[in-house]
Amino acid sequence: MAQTRERPKPVLHPDFCKGCGRCIESCPKHCIEAGTEIDGATGLIPVQLRLDSCNGCSLCLEACPEPYGLDHESPEPRSSEPPHIPGTENLVAIAAKRRVAETIPDVRVPMPALRPLVVKGTYASAIGALLAGCRHFFGYPITPSTDGAELMAKLLPELEGHFVQAVSEVATINHMYGTGGAGLRCMTFTSSPGFSLMLEGLSYMIGAEIPGVVVDVMRAGPGLGNIGPEQGDIKIACRGPGHGTTQTLVYAPATPQEMLDLTMLAFDKAFEYRNPVLVACDGYLGQITGRVDLPSYMVKPGLPDWAVWGDAAHRPNLHTSILLNEADQEAHNVKLLAKYAQMIDREQRADLYETDDADVLIVAANTPARTAKGAVAVLRKQGIKAGLFRPITLWPFPIRALAPVLPRMKAVVVVEASNGQLEDELRLALSHADLHAPPPITNVRHYGGIMPQMNEIVACARAAHEATPSRRTRETEAEAAARVLS
């Protein structure tokens, strides 16, 4: 027996009708016409319904662009709901209020005792990532970082992971925005020109508080430069990668062992702070093979409550970096700044070598720090008490470890494969720490793919040592004079 059922007729909520009139021509029964009266709440002119001949075909509903303009019959008008009082809460707070997901914690799984590996820096980093629970790699081939990506391409499928060769570094970092946003551990290897391309995406990740690990195997620049080693990305890494209020932890490994250890740490920190983390090494370190002891555990990652995972529990979550309301955007910046302040407070790392009795301090990171270590040994054989201060975090600069040893030093020598970018970080950190009278700072710098050599460091440190502290003022004048003359 055929059943007949009366189909519901549309209801107009005049406050939510913008009067566009798209419904008017959609109605075969001509039940809708353009309005004539201005709605007091909106200042717009809503359409008017005369539903005498309406058969409930709902074509008008299909034509209404507003979710709540033309509606199926609904018992109470939505506009009667209590007004929402705007306050200082931002979108994050709104999301937090709605949150129902619970964080599934990471688990540290014991590993069998394994012999040390003999691998190059990029491989060590890739293996560190696998041990840290990374099963998603996105990347674009660029020398001298590609070995790491190639190893990931080989190993990830064996662990049911994903290796994706992205169309560009721009796509790479946005793939990471997606996978990191879903709450999983992901990474890329890149080198300087590729790193430049990732800055946009890094800013978005930082803004939306999405974790991920970027290993930048720095090569000579500017521009295409060459594939020789450099440390020329320290400036963009430490001064805020990308536009806006951006900051990330920047680790500077010096050995293949640290490539593994710091890559693993980088994943933990990325999720702890919900922020991308950079591992910046030079092209040499990427290629240096060395001894790598394996950790006693690996990480089986959980799933954070904030993930946009694609299930019921995480449905209320949102990742965005746009906050149209200026007060919301400022509040979000204040929140990020508090996070950066925490990083400065908790995350400084440094390695001090032979500094206890030293009076000449060499400051260097990455491979130049190893060369400098050799120089310290040579200098000590020559009777000069040299020591090495090696920042492991380039940002935050480990000023807290440096400050106590600095007063004993007659001179500081900054050794780097860049145009003073590490020295700038040092000087800025000194300034922020109100240390305005450091010992004289000289430097050994190379760029273009050439690394500082041990004999140069030795010579520079000797010269700095031989200049007594009392000559400091005159030296500065002499330097100034030399600059003017040159």
Partner: protein
């Protein structure tokens, strides 16, 4: 229930009417597409699985309205973000929603390669022929002659011509479903609604990548009434962008993705970790006369095997409990260029891994010997390939061993083992590591090629013997 939020709390904190009204201009096509998408998600029961990627453009705030997992991407990058989400959770239903500036201009690379990859995601491309959010500038899909804020004289010859994205996407192998629809009358709207539903259904069935282009109205920037804008789309856009199904294939579904592996034993195996101690042969760090940190340079042409020899040396040293490093350095050629290796072997820690003044040099050709011979420290050791270096430069300050690496290897029937001859020669010339320790490294390297083991062991032994013969000759 609808897939729209009950209240739009994210829309300016849901103040007043904004709690239930969109930010779109009157008559804008986006609202309709949102509705059809919302109803498709609802009718297929996908709300809890959906991840919606909002683009940059007027729909940047799509997450104000749709009660699903939401993420907002950088300009043009929504498909790349969508790929990231789909790979993270293959069970999620991922929708990338984009406008014409976002998809067809700044995001061309991302959309093409996401489409070409073909993962089961659904792309909704709303083409209204203009940049809406930034205020009515020319889009890649703007018809020729149309006056916009950035084509005040009308789109002209320096502006390119309108891009037919659906056709371009359909040319790729991977996409399974590409259709262009419109919104200008009830019939078109029904088709649009169906197309969007179909795109999502194909994703649910894991069939592949679907792309629905929707010709939509932007009355504000076309400076038309909503009704006139509908007519404009029909008259001006449809002839340029023909409606209908452009591609519709129904391949086998993508296979189910297995869960990523976190089994410790499996991971240990995959990263090449070996259990148990390696056998040790050395009794302490050798007294070579070069101290506790010995620098070795191996130099030749690409293909000589200098890097392999260097790695074998480093591996053997590390297995003895020492520290070792190896830095390779190549010319720009993939084959046949220069190939140098700096190796350090240290009792406890290698301080500086470069070897500008090595204690030991192994030279595979004349240019290498000429270049690096003079850099060897006084009292150092030089081993070179006598086969190819007839007239060595005078090196009075070092101990020189001329061994015919290549000739010996050839006698053994495989020129490629000349670097293992060199390794044997290096061992005998320096005594840096025991023979057995280097042979263990050779055996490990040939673990999966046992047929070459005897050859390599012979090569190593012949290298050792050649140096020992030279030493005996020197004594007599």
């Amino acid at each position: 229930m609808s897939v729209f939020y009950e209240r739009f709390d994210r829309h300016d904190h849901g103040q007043g009417l904004k709690a239930h009204a969109t930010h779109y201009c009157p008559g804008c096509g986006h609202g309709l597409v949102h509705k059809y998408l919302g109803e498709a998600i609802q009718s297929l029961g996908l709300q809890d699985r959906t991840v919606l990627v909002s683009p940059v453009g007027c729909t940047v705030f799509m997450y104000y309205y749709m009660d699903v997992g939401n993420t907002q991407a950088a300009h043009g990058r929504a498909p790349a973000v969508a790929v990231g989400h789909k790979l993270a959770n293959p069970n999620s239903i991922v929708i990338s929603y984009q406008g014409d500036g976002d998809l067809a201009s700044i995001g061309l690379a991302e959309i093409f390669h996401a489409a070409n990859m073909g993962l089961p995601i659904t792309v909704i491309f709303v083409n209204n022929a203009i940049y809406g959010m930034t205020g009515g500038q020319m889009a890649p899909t703007t018809p020729m002659g149309l006056k916009t804020a950035t084509s005040p004289g009308g789109r002209g010859r320096y502006d390119g011509s309108p891009m037919r994205m659906a056709e371009l996407i359909a040319q790729l192998d991977a996409p399974v479903y590409v259709e262009r629809v419109a919104l200008y009358d009830a019939k078109q709207r029904v088709k649009a609604h169906k197309a969007i539903t179909k795109g999502l259904k194909l994703q649910e069935e894991r069939r592949g990548f679907s792309f629905i282009e929707v010709l939509a109205e932007c009355p504000t920037h076309l400076k038309l009434t909503p009704a006139a804008a509908e007519q404009w789309v029909k008259d001006k856009m449809v002839p340029l962008f023909p409606l209908g199904v452009i591609k519709d294939i129904s391949p086998e579904p993508w296979p189910e993705q297995p869960e990523p592996c976190f089994d410790a034993a499996r991971v240990a195996d995959v990263i090449g970790g070996a259990t148990g101690e390696a056998q040790k042969f050395a009794r302490g760090f050798a007294e070579t006369g070069f101290g506790a940190d010995v620098a070795i340079k191996l130099a030749g042409a690409g293909g000589d095997g200098a890097q392999t020899t260097a790695l074998l040396l480093a591996r053997a040293a590390i297995q003895e409990g020492f520290d070792a490093t190896h830095i390779p350095s190549y010319g720009p050629e993939s084959r046949g260029g220069t190939s140098y290796a700096d190796v350090h072997v240290a009792a406890s820690e290698v301080l500086s891994p470069a070897a500008p003044h090595p204690h030991v040099l192994v030279a595979f050709n004349a240019p290498s010997l000429a270049k690096f011979g003079p850099t060897v420290v006084p009292g150092g050791v030089v081993v070179y390939d006598k086969t190819v270096i007839a007239e060595p430069p005078p090196l009075p300050h070092v101990k020189v061993f001329a061994v015919p690496f290549a000739q010996i290897a050839q006698e053994l029937g495989a020129i490629v083992v000349k670097n293992v001859v060199a390794l044997g020669a290096l061992q005998a010339a320096t005594g840096l590591l025991p023979k057995e320790s280097l042979l263990q490294a050779v055996r490990q390297a040939l673990e999966h090629k046992p047929q070459f083991l005897a050859l390599n062991e012979q090569a190593f032994e012949r290298g050792v013997q050649a140096v020992e013969a030279l030493k005996r000759a020197e004594i007599h």
